[in-house]
Subunit: 242 residues, 3 copies
Amino acid sequence: MADTYVLVHGAWHTGELMEPVAAHLRTMGHTVHCPTLAGNRADDKRSEIGLSDAVDSLVDFVETRQLSQVRLMGHSYGGMVISMAAQRLGERLRRLIYANAFVPMHGESLNDLVPPHYRSLFDGIAAASGNAVMLPFPIWREAFINDADLALAEHTYGQLNPHPYRTFTDKAVLETELAALPLGKSYINCQQDTALPHSLPWHPRLSERLGLFRLIECAGSHELLFTDPQRLAQAIQEAGRD
Amino acid sequence: MADTYVLVHGAWHTGELMEPVAAHLRTMGHTVHCPTLAGNRADDKRSEIGLSDAVDSLVDFVETRQLSQVRLMGHSYGGMVISMAAQRLGERLRRLIYANAFVPMHGESLNDLVPPHYRSLFDGIAAASGNAVMLPFPIWREAFINDADLALAEHTYGQLNPHPYRTFTDKAVLETELAALPLGKSYINCQQDTALPHSLPWHPRLSERLGLFRLIECAGSHELLFTDPQRLAQAIQEAGRD
Amino acid sequence: MADTYVLVHGAWHTGELMEPVAAHLRTMGHTVHCPTLAGNRADDKRSEIGLSDAVDSLVDFVETRQLSQVRLMGHSYGGMVISMAAQRLGERLRRLIYANAFVPMHGESLNDLVPPHYRSLFDGIAAASGNAVMLPFPIWREAFINDADLALAEHTYGQLNPHPYRTFTDKAVLETELAALPLGKSYINCQQDTALPHSLPWHPRLSERLGLFRLIECAGSHELLFTDPQRLAQAIQEAGRD
């Protein structure tokens, strides 16, 4: 079965970094797109970009290409973006896939869903940098890409870009709650993902907000897209199929 | 070591559907029985059958065949049935094995152990159908057999049968609490089983009611008997051995 | 990368029992030491030994050999010992690794971190035996080494030694809380470890006391050192590398 996937990256990432995963999905016969959201493009002015700009850029991407029957995946922060985009793209979508991704309720920001020490940390960085925040390397290495060796952790860290912090503080606008959207929903949980602490976990805390959903799990960190893109592609296919 | 196993199916299932698992256990050298409980047989009057009828049918099965040193496994709803049967079969049993199965306390029904939305759903279906409830396909596909492809999900759904709802509302009668029964106890937890939501999970919520017990886990959904019967057979052997 | 590891055993164990794990780490190129703590040596007087004696013996071991850049791992009870030793060995250490190990706060004993039924059980055994407690075989077989067959469970049980109970009741002395120590920290969680019940789990309950830490998980029981030493060695290497 040849399906159409749109893979939406997380904070600090770009669509290009999702390409190894996409390549494995294409080998399985699927059509795959990896847009880079507004706010993470090389020439974006981080100081001016908020969550609605990122959402607009994704909606434009899908509509411009007239995609249909899309299996729309969001990774991490990408979950905020696909949740809002799904309100406008409904007829073009087949299924929503969250991959260790945020699932907001109406009126919640990403920062409302993370532990307080992250908010304090990024508040400070954003104040000093004019809305463009970087993730400190020790957090990246220990809590995000714990299944990599040091060389891969350093190489991939060098590929990240500063992220517009307003996308973390802007509140999600959801006319229809996600559980009520007439679409399939899946949640991929990489089991060693400690980007959120397991005392405040991705699953089931956020996944169960989807109502009836399909759970797919595999071993791996938050950055399985780097440490084992083939395994992530397999999980996406199991999450995305009818 | 050649052991004797009796594998008790869950709601909507039959013993026949457990045969592929049994075949793998037989290959390992074991003797395996897969009875179909009263209430799930082709000519059963669903309107008249309750939990004690299912229990009686299992006790009769074991006693008629004069089985001994039995490793008695219950899957899902089958946990209700083996818990009550163990009160009467004690001398014939070696170990109780729960496979993502309900572990009741005295006076609790299966419905007391599931989330409210299941009770509402099945109350409605039972009222309309005279005590015979079917599981809606979307729940089957997303929450019960999430690790299958659509073809296998549809094929296996076609093999299910309507289940007598009184077996979900009748209360368990347990003269001796399970933790105090002088038998080995094991709990098999398939890790992606979302037939119960992970916020109200099988393990450790229900498993720890067994007191000292052996935990065996593997990847898989509630319906691993269909999606990977060999893996389930291996888990049963690890749970059932001395 | 050739690193230096010191592997600290748990209660009832000795350094010798960790040697199969060490052998696999040496095959990967590392230098590995497996001391036996005071209290678990053949001629130790169990009646006289407390937690500080075990800590002293570990500090002496590392200092006498003038080890540096040590990746110091503690298994189970060994977590109490490495937590206190790290206060004194700081400059010699590179990283602390907890393997299903206790992570105390200042003033807490091991017994403060286990369920009440363990405390009652061992209080009784210690009172009868003069501070030397053995783990009852049924608990060993079902809750500690659930992934072994009976022969391995019995063989390894025969290799255990009585443990000085005061090491479970003495309180940890930590000048600096572990999260604030300027060292890397990792936590290895064997997923089927029910030596602590999963309703009162090793991870994230104890692991998150480390502050920023690296999570490594794999399948296995509390006694993976016996049931799959190669897999444990791999986990230690993933936990211990920079």
